[in-house]
């Protein structure tokens, strides 16, 4: 799992009920389109996300219909688990045994 994937997952887990479209996710995650959309496609293929085209009249709304992504019923649990595993791994890296530690104070 890469950092961009983690960012996308976190964006969806902030509000699991929310439906999001691509441009909105770009603003939320600060990812480029060339990074974000392949991730969305991969998550959708794996069944973690489902997508649906917006049912609007483009002429009336003055814009084309968007495709909205949302968490699938089976997607929330593995996403939370993946996020927890990442957090656990990051905690180990940030521990003082591996990290840099505080610089020692030099006596004046």
């Amino acid at each position: 799992m890469t950092v961009p994937v983690m960012q996308v997952i976190s964006a969806f887990l902030e509000d699991p009920q929310a439906k999001r479209y691509g441009a909105e996710l770009i603003r939320a995650t600060h990812l480029q389109s060339g990074t974000l959309y392949p991730i969305l496609a991969r998550l959708e293929r794996n069944g973690w996300l489902v997508s649906q085209k917006e049912a609007i009249d483009p002429k009336k709304e003055g814009r084309p219909a968007r495709r909205y992504y949302e968490l699938s019923p089976d997607g929330a649990a593995p996403m939370r688990q993946a996020r927890a595993e990442i957090h656990e791994a990051l905690k180990k890296i940030e521990s003082p045994a591996i990290g840099w530690g505080k610089p020692e104070a030099h006596p004046a």
């Binding site: 480029q32 389109s33 060339g34 496609a41 293929r45 219909a65």
Partner: protein, 331 residues
Amino acid sequence: MTIGSALITATIAIISAVLAGLVQKEVEGAIKILPFGMLNVARLIVPASQRRDLYDEWAADLYDVLDGDDRPFVRVWYGIRFSLGFIWSGRKIARELQPLRSPGTAADGAPTTSPSEPPTIALPRVNVNVSLIQELIARARKSQESEEFVVGDMRFTFPIRKRGLGYSREEVTSALYRLRVVVRLNRYWLLSVADFEPSLFSLEEGGFLEHDVNMAFSVLRYAFQPRITKYDAPSTQPRPRTVERSAAATRRPSPRPGKRVSPRVPPYLGIDGNLDIDRTAPPTGGVSQRIPRQAARPVDPLTAPLQRPMGSLRAARPVDPLTAPLWRPDD
């Protein structure tokens, strides 16, 4: 200042303001063209069966991106960056989504294909000496590999890109000899079925098969041994079968130091890729019938004399296929 000059100044100011507004709107509309143009390029990159679906999604989001900032140049920059991402990753996205979003909505009138099949342009009953060959010559000019066939008074030159040409015999009877030629040109496949009348070649069936198989394998050889092969196919004269290749074709290229001989040569091929036939074995009839072979003679296909015309086939002209003008079906 007189009243007249004040009026003129006011009129000029109003006209200037109106013109500036029009120019601003025009420029704002025009600069949106660039991101959408780039998105169209990205659309062409993905398979035709997914174009409409993906483009609709991307275009809707691009509208949103272009409305996201008040500064026009920043907006355009965001739009360009957004569209550029799909040029790089459009194919990857399409590949990921291929099993999910059914290709029932083919765009641009493109034929709907199953995921495993490449898009096919079918050219039914195209004679092998017309569009397929000349199209190949026209499109594969950059190829340094070619195969020349001299069949009677016809000369064919196949510029072959790596793994670009598939060739198979479909049916051989006493009355019909049918070839199926599949050519991959970029993302498209050209499928052609060509029928020949076997009597044109004055070959018995066994000779036909061997010649056919040799031609097919010579095409396969290009997958791992780029070189030029020249064929002198059997003539129309009633004589024993002669399949002759120039010395350059039969000579095995010396391997470069440290380079292994390709292990991908199928076991039923000889060391140079030719069909390995035990010619000393007694004939068992049919395909394996022994055919007397004449000694090979060097033939230069570009200077060889023309023989009699072959029915409806167009007579070959002694031209250099690499510099000849593009042939068109309506020529």
